[in-house]
């Protein structure tokens, strides 16, 4: 048990608390602390990925043995998510430190709280603790969403908050059912007890599983549950929206974790089959709606929000195929889509600041400065996002489609994905030509300065997409192993509970 | 005594807190110590919130006053109960103003509370400038007698306690 495992939660919390205690510190100092903390998280993420290569790592909080105490579990998936979140957060905090953190109060403290929540959600092996961390990350996200104020944010924020409160209520209901029938909260223990439950109880437990699917589906943005997202994401400030790119992935992560471990231990009759049955069509519809939304978007931020929806749809649809290889591919796609969605939110801001009018509205033709740099960035990002070669978008999509062929209905996924790709090409080419080709050269007397730090941040983030493509082979290897681990829940159970998972009936002291 | 005043600005009240603590917990030396510490700390921390300069000159008389109040409450509750249950139709409620002689706000508060607790009357408004209390009476027969009664029974003793 290494204490490094708890640090992804402790470090940001400490940073946030410290920032609150010193709430009078200058913004510069706040930035230093915040960036420092986030950098430490990146280092921890790297450590986690390296450490997770070998085996599961568990951490007994309060030195109480699971299932009684709360346990943290580090496996390949959580390690990867930790690193991804930390990296993304680093870019966001760097970008925000160029000025948007001044628009409201306590940006950095809230940002660190947000990271604490996200990291905790990735690490925890306890279902109720997951709920708590969800609340932390949600509340922090509410606050960050409204950072800077304004009408649009208020309304979108209100919707976002209320819908997620309903989600939290449903989460608690599901937790209640699970506890009421199994008497435990630890995911591994739950898995054991659920697998051993009577068929009658299992029917009720399946209801809980579907409830959880709805809960995570709200966060991960699945079709009838996602309408809060476009406005919420497009209303928030650029670095926040970019960080939010990971939020739907947290929902996806929770879905994967809970459905595969908690409801998937019994290989003969996994309870998650019923969930997958529903997840599949809904996720495909989500994908389709995302594509339509991308085409119909009025601004780049809205478009980016629908791109997030699209990628969520694709992720969940591929997850619903319930196959190891597909999951591996979708995890790769997750990396790609998270980075790219963030890029688009940041780009919208970067471009919007350089346009003389209309910010990122697509309907407005306005001269902009630095057409070349911005245009090139946009082109590369768009190419990667649309899944055109040679960037990660193409690689991940090709791998996903290729691996999906084992599923009986894979042609649906293919068709909708490819059609969505076409929609994306149409929308992005329209946006790009409208912005970079259409307008007259900038004639305003005051040439707006292009912030090199912001550009560098976005460029490096885009560069990650290229790097992912270049070094796809080792990443894919990691993903394959990760998916393998996820589809082997008994190993998880054994790692957490310390005894063979085949023993049924759960643990009693 | 200077340091004592700095540390325990309201010794009487601190003592009251200590007593309260000991009543809440089972008596032990540890609790005595803890209670003392808490009493001192709390009275110091809350000092800024204290009403200005109200000095109880005669704590003993205050206790006697409270004792009599308790009896009055009991007695007059029975009267009110009877009125509510049996004569509610014949009641003739009304307001009247009670001119104050007390000047201390704390004393006035005690008087107003007394009036409210004793049945038949509720103090509805304290007019600080006009130095009077607005009182609602459940059954208002003789206004002057009521004012006299309050003055004799409650206001005079209070004046003695706070003695200004």
């Amino acid at each position: 048990m290494t204490h490094l495992m708890i640090l992804p939660v402790v470090i940001p919390m400490l940073a946030a608390a410290w920032l609150l205690v010193n709430h009078r510190a200058s913004i510069g100092r706040q930035r230093v602390w915040s960036i420092f903390s986030t950098s430490v998280l990146v280092a921890l993420g790297v450590w986690a990925v390296v450490a997770a290569q070998t085996d599961y790592h568990t951490y007994w909080l309060g030195n109480w043995q699971p299932p009684f105490g709360i346990v943290l579990v580090l496996d390949r998936l959580s390690a990867m998510m930790l690193l991804l979140a930390a990296l993304l957060a680093l870019f966001c905090v760097l970008y925000a430190s160029r000025g948007s953190d001044r628009e409201g109060s306590h940006f950095h403290a809230l940002f660190q709280f947000q990271l604490m929540g996200i990291n905790g959600a990735f690490l925890t092996g306890d279902l109720f603790n997951l709920f708590v961390f969800f609340e932390i990350l949600l509340l922090a996200s509410y606050a960050l969403l409204l950072h800077g104020g304004g009408r649009a944010r208020s309304r979108a924020g209100l919707h976002y908050v209320i819908i997620n409160l309903l989600g939290s209520a449903l989460f608690l209901l599901a937790l209640g059912i699970l506890y009421g029938l199994t008497g435990t909260l630890n995911m591994a223990d739950l898995a054991v007890r659920i697998a051993a439950a009577s068929p009658d109880d299992q029917t009720l437990l399946k209801g809980a599983a579907l409830l959880l699917m709805v809960v995570f589906g709200i966060k991960a943005a699945i079709l009838p549950l996602l309408f809060w997202l476009p406005r919420a994401y497009s209303a928030s400030s650029a670095p926040v929206a970019a960080l939010f790119a990971i939020m739907t992935k947290v929902g996806f992560y929770a879905m994967v974790r809970v459905l595969l471990i908690v409801f998937g231990l019994d290989p003969a009759q996994p309870l998650n089959a019923g969930v997958f049955l529903w997840l599949w069509p809904l996720a495909l519809a989500t994908l389709g709606l995302g594509a339509i939304g991308v085409l119909g978007a009025a601004s780049l931020r809205t478009m980016a929000a629908y791109l997030v929806i699209m990628s969520s749809g694709l992720l969940m649809a591929s997850f619903a195929m319930a196959e190891t290889t597909v999951l591996a591919a979708s995890l790769f796609y997750l990396l790609h889509s998270t980075c790219l969605a963030a890029v688009f939110f940041l780009l919208a801001d970067l471009i919007g600041r350089q346009r003389s009018d209309g910010y990122d509205l697509l309907s407005v033709t306005a001269p902009l400065t630095h057409r070349w740099i911005l245009g090139t960035l946009f082109l590369v990002a768009a190419v990667s996002m649309a899944g055109l070669p040679p960037f990660s978008g193409f690689i991940s999509k090709a791998w996903l489609l290729q691996n999906a062929t084992g599923h009986p209905h894979y042609l649906w996924l293919w068709g909708i994905t490819l059609l969505a790709g076409l929609f994306m090409i149409a929308a992005l080419s329209r946006a790009g030509s409208g912005w970079f080709w259409k307008p007259e050269p900038f004639t305003g007397r005051q040439r707006r300065k292009l912030d090199p730090a912001r550009v560098a941040t976005v460029s490096v983030l885009i560069g990650i997409s290229g790097t992912l493509a270049l070094f796809a082979a080792p990443v894919m290897e990691y993903m394959t192993a990760t998916a393998g681990q996820l589809y082997h829940p008994s190993a998880y159970v054994q790692a957490v509970l310390g005894e063979p998972a085949t023993k049924t009936g759960g643990l009693t002291p | 005594m200077n340091w004592l005043q700095r540390w325990v600005p309201h010794p009487l009240f601190a003592g009251f807190l200590l007593l309260l603590w000991l009543l809440m917990n089972e008596f032990s030396f540890a609790h005595l110590l803890l209670g003392a510490v808490l009493a001192v700390v709390i009275s110091r921390v809350t000092q800024p919130f204290w009403p200005e300069r109200s000095k109880i000159k005669h704590p003993g008389r205050l206790l006697r006053y409270l004792g009599r109040l308790l009896m009055d409450i009991l007695k007059s509750n029975l009267i009110v109960a009877r009125r509510i249950l049996f004569y509610s139709r014949q009641l003739e409620p009304g307001f009247f103003t009670y001119p104050l002689t007390l000047t201390d706000d704390f004393a006035v508060t005690i008087l107003a509370s007394t009036i409210s607790l004793t049945p038949g009357t509720v103090s509805a408004h304290y007019d600080r400038e006009g130095r009077c209390l607005l009182i609602h009476c459940l059954h208002l027969e003789d206004e002057a007698a009521l004012i006299q009664d309050i003055r004799e029974h409650y206001e005079k003793p209070l004046q003695e306690i706070f003695d200004d």
Binding site: N22, H23, L139, A143, G176, I177, G293 | W21
Partner: protein
């Protein structure tokens, strides 16, 4: 082959730094393709060998994507065309772009494009080929939109990208299927498995997808629409991409995959029919184009259709004809485009109705144009004549489907007739046909004679092909044909062709008919002009706009900003899914017997429900609803108290009051009541949703409560005292067993408070929504009597909270409740004395308090590392001190102190900031 790519890369880099003359650019740009030609020439021996030359570097083995190149006859032919014509195009562009600032951009893009094109033809790995395939779409998008200030250019670029990009996606699907079926993306593996592939059940789908990709790229009807609009590109681009290279990529792909996928009925039907339609549409429309480039574009479409048709026939001879014509077409179409560009630059127009009789001003141009135009018309002795004759003869050989043996020959003859007509027209209309009219630039500008050199070279080559077809065929095309068919046929015999009778007759018919049609062009144009004008770009744009508008409408209709709708959807989904999952439940009631009813419980629960219903009934009147909500909260508290949960009762109660106070603070800014808005259907819908949700909860409650459970709680009951040092198990769980949850919980509270602070900091309240009372004399801001009692209550409340805090570990209580009691007592001070008064007496900042509380809790947890234990491990000790006696010290108490501090700070921060909104402190000033 790698040096070619390497050369491009290095060239691209060096390109950036120099901004000198166009000559230098062009020279530099030409280096690579020229090297390429030489390299290809040097590789001819290997290519002529029947075995392909393959180089492979692994990239992503999981994907089957390798950097793998293949050089065989087919790729050699294409690569030579690409690099060779590329050289000439660069030469041409050197003059075309003379004096233009955009030249460097052109050279970069054309180089990139050439790379991509070479990549397509030289890839051994199909996925790798796809990378280049999409790259050509992308670069051509940039090239077509080269003159971006022109609306047509932008639209044309977008259109071509959408169509070819879409085709690329279909191709991706097709190739993935193909790879999946063959188990590899390597061409050598795929080509060797033709029979297996054709037997596969997914063969039709796969073939359709692959062909969709090929057709879109090669502008086959109905995807040909993008090509004419790609003419907005600079002429060198059109000459290169839209005559010689990119559009040939689809043909290349079909030829390449023919051995593996061809010779089936589906192949024949799909490709032949498409080719025929394209051939005819292109030829017919070309006749009526007044724009030179437009005419050339449609003629290109027509010729592409022709080649496609030949590939569709699939016989060895047809393949030979296809590839031969492909070479011919490249050689005559490129110079014609160059001519168009030349004329365009010289006269400022491309409209053949204006441009007439140029022979007098540009005799040299006329001469070099003569050969390609004749070749395009298919005049005898020209390359086009031969290939057309090959086509005619092949068309006669097709007998397989019943309809084909008459239809195809007739069809191609008619198409040939049109092609003669437009070929004659382009030559005659430009150089003769009277005097020029109203040309924008007049007299025409002349370019140096060298500018004509690429035209001349190509015309010469074209002529050579016509004169020595057999040699050309044997040395260039035959090797390629060998790669496209399964059998190893002997070389095509041109002498046999010249003997064939019927094809010659067909040629003659086409020739004479074409001339006749051209002669009758005036009435034909008149008829054509009367036909409704159909602009493909407009169709495409309209379709695009429609789709976009449809998407917008759909999205707005779905995402209409109605929270109610979103919530209802979520709830309905939940109910539906859960109901579905419970269909299989055999019985709701479990084995545990029901417990008897207690009248007290009935009473309490009834009031709980009644008050909740009351809240619903009164919801439009804020204050009464709030009071009823308090009642609900109170009875929830009583329920907890009755069912053995004193801690919960305490917490619920305190929280309830704080929540109500907060709601009341906010209430003053909200309307006091709202009108009745919902109509009956809406209410009915909501009622249905609500009842369904309520029914679900009730059902689950009943089902679970009547079932047995074996909980882990016994562990907590057993270990609370020995392991946690406290008898109040709930509190020990909170600060010890599950202290991590509590840490999270207070974090939530802290975030909420900080967020409230942030929201209210700059909130500007324009008006104050106070009721207009008539009796302000009673409405003093701070009633004296309240103040007195409130101040007295504070120390007592603090003492009580100390009591609750300290005994929480063993009895109901704890840091959280103690914190709330403290906060409530302090709130009372705010209410009694006012914000300014109370704030002046607060000695700390609430935000610091929150931070400090969180840090205390956190550091208590971290401290256990010092003793080698995990985070949040607690310890406790029973100490015995003289005089004091035995007492217990638990580290959990310190943790609880953190909780206490956070709760106090957070609650007060929220209240104070809400309170400040209407006070003199006002917005902008920080409170707490």
């Amino acid at each position: 082959m790698l040096p070619v790519l390497g050369a491009f890369a290095s060239w691209l880099l060096s390109r950036r730094s120099d901004g000198t003359s166009i000559r230098a650019h062009a020279l530099l740009a030409a280096v690579a393709p020229f090297t390429g030609v030489l390299l290809l020439a040097s590789h001819w021996p290997q290519a002529s060998d029947q075995n392909a030359l393959i180089t492979t570097v692994q990239w992503i083995p999981q994907l089957g994507l390798d950097l793998s190149f293949r050089l065989d006859g087919l790729s050699w032919l294409f690569a030579t065309l690409i690099t060779g014509i590329g050289c000439l195009i660069i030469l041409y562009a050197r003059y075309y772009f003379d004096g233009k600032a955009t030249a460097p951009r052109f050279f970069i893009l054309i180089q990139l494009f050439m790379t991509a094109m070479l990549g397509i033809v030289l890839s051994e790995n199909l996925l790798f080929m796809l990378v280049f395939w999409e790259l050509t779409s992308l670069v051509s998008f940039l090239l077509i939109g080269f003159n971006w200030s022109n609306r047509g250019a932008r639209r044309g670029a977008r259109m071509s990208l959408v169509i070819t990009g879409g085709g690329g996606l279909a191709l991706l699907a097709g190739i993935l299927l193909l790879g999946n079926m063959a188990g590899s993306f390597q061409l050598s593996d795929i080509l060797s498995q033709g029979e297996t592939l054709k037997q596969h059940s997914l063969y039709p789908l796969m073939l359709s997808l692959v062909l969709l990709g090929a057709f879109t790229k090669s502008a086959q009807a109905p995807f040909h629409l993008w090509l004419p609009h790609a003419m907005a590109a600079p002429t060198p681009v059109s000459a290169y991409l839209h005559s010689a290279t990119m559009v040939k990529a689809g043909l290349f792909l079909m030829a390449r995959l023919h051995p593996a996928l061809g010779d089936t009925e589906l192949w024949f039907a799909l490709i032949t029919v498409t080719g025929m339609v394209t051939l005819m549409v292109g030829a017919f429309v070309a006749m009526f184009m007044h724009d030179i480039k437009g005419l050339l574009a449609y003629s290109t479409i027509s010729h592409l259709g022709l080649i496609t048709l030949l590939i569709g026939m699939g016989s060895e001879m047809a393949m030979a004809a296809a590839l031969f014509h492909l070479v011919c077409h490249a050689l005559f179409k490129a110079p014609l485009f160059m001519m168009a560009g030349y004329v365009d630059q010289a006269t400022g127009s491309r409209d053949m109705q204006l441009i007439n009789g140029l022979w007098r001003w540009m005799p040299a141009l006329m001469i070099v144009t003569l050969v390609p135009a004749a070749a395009m018309a298919g005049l005898p002795l020209m390359s086009g004549y031969l290939s057309k004759k090959m086509l005619f003869s092949e068309s006669l050989l097709v007998t397989a489907p019943h309809w084909a043996d008459v239809v195809i020959p007739a069809w191609v003859t008619v198409a040939g007739l049109f092609s003669v007509a437009y070929s004659v027209r382009i030559f005659h209309n430009v150089f003769f046909n009277g005097q020029p009219r109203d040309l924008p630039v007049w007299p025409p500008k002349h370019k140096p004679a060298a500018a004509l050199s690429p035209l001349a070279i190509l015309a010469t080559l074209s002529l050579l092909v016509g004169l020595a077809p057999q040699w050309i065929y044997d040395h260039l095309v035959h090797l390629a044909v060998l790669q496209t068919t399964v059998s190893h046929l002997p070389a095509y015999d041109f002498s046999a062709l010249s003997d064939a009778h019927t094809p010659a007759m067909m040629s003659l018919v086409a020739m004479l008919g074409g001339l006749a049609v051209y002669a009758a062009r005036k009435p034909l144009f008149a008829i054509h002009a009367r036909l409704p004008e159909v602009d493909a770009k407009d169709i495409f744009e309209t379709a695009m706009q429609r789709t976009i508008r449809f998407s917008q409408t759909l999205v707005y209709r779905l995402e209409n900003g109605s929270l109610q709708r979103y919530l209802a959807l979520i709830l309905l989904t939940t109910v539906a899914l859960v109901a579905w999952s419970l269909l299989g439940l055999e019985r709701w009631r479990g084995p545990v017997p029901l417990s008897s009813l207690n009248p007290l419980v009935v009473f309490g629960i009834s009031i709980l429900c009644l008050s909740a219903i009351g809240v619903v009934l009164f919801h439009r009147h804020r204050l009464p609803a709030l009071l009823l909500l308090s009642v609900t909260g109170l009875f929830v508290t009583l329920t907890f108290a009755w069912f053995s949960a004193p801690d919960l009762a305490l917490t619920q109660l305190s929280v309830e009051v704080m929540a109500v106070v907060i709601m009341m603070l906010a209430l003053s800014f909200l309307p006091q009541s709202s009108p009745k808005e919902s109509r009956f259907p809406r209410i009915a819908r909501d009622l249905f949703v609500a009842l369904a949700a309520g029914g679900g909860v009730a059902a689950f409650t009943f089902a679970v409560l009547t079932r047995p459970v074996n909980s882990i709680s016994d562990f907590f009951l057993a270990n609370s005292v020995p392991g946690g040092g406290g008898t109040n198990v709930v509190n020990v769980i909170l600060v010890d067993f599950r202290g991590f949850d509590t840490l999270g919980e207070i974090t939530v509270l802290g975030i909420a408070a900080v967020a409230v602070f942030a929201f209210t900091r700059n909130l500007n309240l324009k008006k104050r929504v106070a009721e207009s009372g008539h009796a302000h004399w009673v409405a003093e801001p701070h009633p004296v009597i309240l103040q007195m009692v409130a101040h007295m209550a504070l120390p007592i409340a603090l003492l009580v909270s100390a009591y609750i805090f300290l005994r929480g570990h063993n009895m109901p209580g704890g840091g959280f409740i103690a914190g709330l009691v403290t906060a409530v007592a302090l709130t009372l001070q705010y209410m009694a004395g006012g914000l300014v008064w109370a704030q002046a007496r607060m000695r700390t900042h609430f935000r610091s308090l929150i931070g400090a509380g969180l840090m205390i809790a956190l550091l208590t947890g971290v401290a256990s590392w010092l003793f080698g234990y995990p985070f949040l491990t607690t310890t406790f000790a029973h100490l015995h001190w003289p005089l004091i006696g035995e007492f217990e010290l638990a580290s959990a108490l310190l943790f609880d102190l953190g909780v206490y501090t956070t709760v106090v700070g957070a609650t007060l921060l929220i209240l104070a900031n809400l309170g400040k909104l209407m006070t003199i402190a006002g917005p902008g000033k920080e409170v707490g």
